[in-house]
Symmetry: C2
Subunit: 465 residues, 2 copies
């Protein structure tokens, strides 16, 4: 690829979902408009475009090889005309000189810069030794390096670990607990609140019942505050509220925080949890764009800033940034917090879906609501695949939004989780619970009762309002 | 239950999904309003509230007992205060005297009457012997009596049937072919056009490839025009275009037609295929209501009348009729033609979802469209459950509706079909393909690629428009 001297220069910091979506989309848009771009991507690690969400499944053994988690290799990016520099950390963003300084001593000039630096796991002090190094056996679950370390810890070490503790009861915590349990480890989840704080506590408790049935222990309202190590320095137990919980390995699933140091040092404003605050076109300053897990996007429904680190938003935001910086038109339409996961261990198969704010978030927004839980089945009751499903719906009860569907949460058996998309679509388009009741959703005995469970819940709530 | 002399009298004709929904909802609404209703239901058969859609799964062996297909028994209906008269056929609707005459010689007076007489299978002439009786071994799949007959034919007869022919390649045809094949019969589907005419032919052909892989033969563009019987009078083969196809049993899946003779004789107007034509409150005349498979509802998107015999519409329409006739407020918001099914035989598991008009229907409506097919996977590509999924999206290309999502069709592996509900919701709320691209849909490796397959298809079409 020949870059002419006058091509507009784009520097992307971070080569995962958001950054590479932006890079490719910028090139695509420029090509469509007949203009030229020179795109450089700086990546401090050695991996590009990998699925962090897939790591628990790699650890569990579902994914055979780490390469499978890489959507596009460095070679593929370069073949598309991108100057991709791996092992290169951006250390300074100079908005006056319009340059990014790297740890290799380069100063890379830009007309546009895309900040796509992602999020980093929150590592508690107790997980580090006095020298600031990770305690052996204690590890987060974020990068492919983490994944490799987990594969080594579980598969290579002799004797093999028998007991696992997972710190945190969110998505990564639940998925790592599944991975450990499926590998035969005695597994304990320790979580500060109820399991899965992105659910309302009543729905989290329903999930917990299933998880506990699988043999995984769940300690709620409990905080890990220390670690006990052996003579070899490796973890032997964690401490929580004075008690010890034996652990040969400890997975850190205590959340992530936006990696925004680069922009912060350059004076860019940050949000409540330290994320960049882009406008709907992903712009944070003139010629400066941000996308992915390092930002705090707005919600579509209430316009408030939230932190939702998720690959599906990263690729969409990256695409918007790439389109707009190359002269095209696009906007990110906000998030509503749709998410799913599952927990499959032995005979237990439970799925979770959620969309919209939690009851607690709605209270924080000052929205008056009513909600109810409906229990139904995923298929017609007489079919062998019919599994229990609980659907919680929440609607506004006051003001001009009265009757508006605000949130749906689902906990149920196989076939439950993906139904959340119907609710997400309804919320996305501003539907009331009464609107949902009438929708023409698909029905056939293997797939649904005559009344879809989400519709039953909405109908009941509509009748009550 | 004591009915006071002055209670408003409601007569419901037909005791399946639509009729019983109307009956119960009328009582519920009246109770809520503090009024009184006397509800009589006339049913010519001996079964109430059964799932016709479940019969193929009963024949296949998925459903253990016929009672499982009955959502509510006659006893339960009566306990709710309904005067349910089984084995009683309404033979005349007298709109002047406000009476329904029965074959028992009664004349049942009404203030409101609900016509919920359902649909009857289309039985070709060749399926009847010269005396007008069904040829032994040839049978439709509509009533519980049909189901019982199929269980007998397949399980009791000696020698057991070895070869099955299914006439018609729609939902019932496909599901009966699955049932026969899973019971070990050599099975052939004979269909006038492509398999599953509710799909566009290109998507029907994709489905057919999977079906054929399972060992079920599919004869497209072929019309069964006769039957060959043995000395015992039972079927031995069908004829199609001069050829014989051997058959020990023949399932009729050639469609159904509204049973509207009662209202037709009373002068009520009928639609193109003979269905009643209710307004959005299910009213066909003053104090006369119709719901379920005997009507032709309007589409939400274009307002044209269509015939969509499906339990999920029947219960919603019955609920509307019951609410309104009892003094409440409700309306049926139309259909968009959402439907799903699957075909699971041996290693083959294919699912189908569709919503919106077919290409042919859109041409008939004079709508200019563009469409494309995207191939993706149901889960992240590296997950063991990732199955191929093909998504066809169609959007309007002209007029004020330019860019509007009109139709989506899906053919794919496990986890494909129910995704149609996302598309159905988007169409329901009038979304453009660009709107769908930005939606916050759920993502996790076991459930979806980072970009949802429906969104990929919509994004590609939006880019092209």
């Amino acid at each position: 690829v020949v870059i002419s001297h006058g091509a507009r220069r784009v520097v992307v910091v971070g080569a995962d979902a958001a950054g590479m979506s932006a890079a490719h989309q910028a090139l695509r848009t420029a090509r469509a408009r007949g203009t030229e771009l020179a795109v450089t991507v700086l990546e401090s690690g050695r991996d590009t475009s990998y699925s962090a969400c897939g790591i628990p499944y790699w650890v569990a053994g579902d994914v055979a090889a780490e390469d499978d988690l890489v959507a596009r290799t460095a070679g593929e990016h370069r073949a598309a005309g991108i100057d991709l520099r791996l092992g290169t950390t951006a250390v300074e963003l100079d908005l006056t000189a319009r340059e990014v300084a790297t740890d290799a001593g380069d100063r890379v000039p830009f007309d546009d810069v895309v900040l796509a630096t992602g999020a980093a796991p929150i590592v508690p002090d107790w997980a580090l030794d006095p020298a600031g190094r990770p305690v052996p056996g204690v590890r987060a679950v974020k990068t492919l390096d983490d994944g490799r370390a987990w594969i080594d810890l579980l598969g290579v070490r002799d004797p093999a670990p028998r007991r696992a503790v997972v710190v945190g009861g969110g998505y990564i915590g639940l998925e790592m607990a599944e991975a450990f349990a499926r590998r035969g480890l005695d597994t304990t989840i320790v979580t500060r609140g109820e399991l899965m704080s992105s659910l309302d506590p009543d729905m989290g408790a329903r999930l917990r019942e299933h998880v506990v049935k699988s043999g995984v222990a769940v300690h709620c309202q409990d905080l890990v505050d220390g670690v006990v190590t052996g003579v070899d320095g490796a973890v032997r137990a964690v401490t929580a509220g004075g008690r010890e919980i034996a652990a040969d390995v400890v997975a850190l699933g205590a959340g992530v925080r936006p990696q925004s140091e680069l922009g912060a040092a350059a004076g860019l404003p940050l949000g409540r949890v330290g994320g960049y605050l882009p406008d709907p076109q992903q712009r944070v300053a003139d010629g400066v764009w941000a996308a992915g897990d390092c930002i705090e996007p707005v919600t579509r429904t209430h316009g408030n800033r939230v932190f939702v680190p998720l690959g599906t938003h990263a690729v969409k935001q990256g695409r918007v940034a790439g389109t707009v910086l190359a002269g095209g038109d696009a906007r990110f339409d906000g998030v509503i917090g749709t998410a799913v996961t599952r927990f499959v261990v032995g005979d237990v198969h439970v799925e979770v879906g959620r969309t919209g704010p939690t009851a607690r978030q709605l209270a924080g927004l000052g929205v008056e609501v009513d909600s109810l839980v409906t229990e139904s089945t995923t298929a017609s009751g007489y079919m062998p695949e019919a599994a229990p499903i609980a659907v919680k719906v929440t609607a506004a009860t006051a003001g001009p939004e009265r009757g508006r569907l605000l949130a749906v949460q689902i906990v149920g058996g196989p076939g439950s989780a993906k139904r959340i998309d119907t609710a997400a679509a309804a919320i996305w388009f501003g539907a009331t619970v009464a609107d949902v009741t009438g929708m023409d959703l698909s029905y056939a005995p293997p797939f649904s009762p005559t009344w879809d469970p989400v519709q039953i819940a909405c109908r009941r709530l509509a009748d009550r309002l």
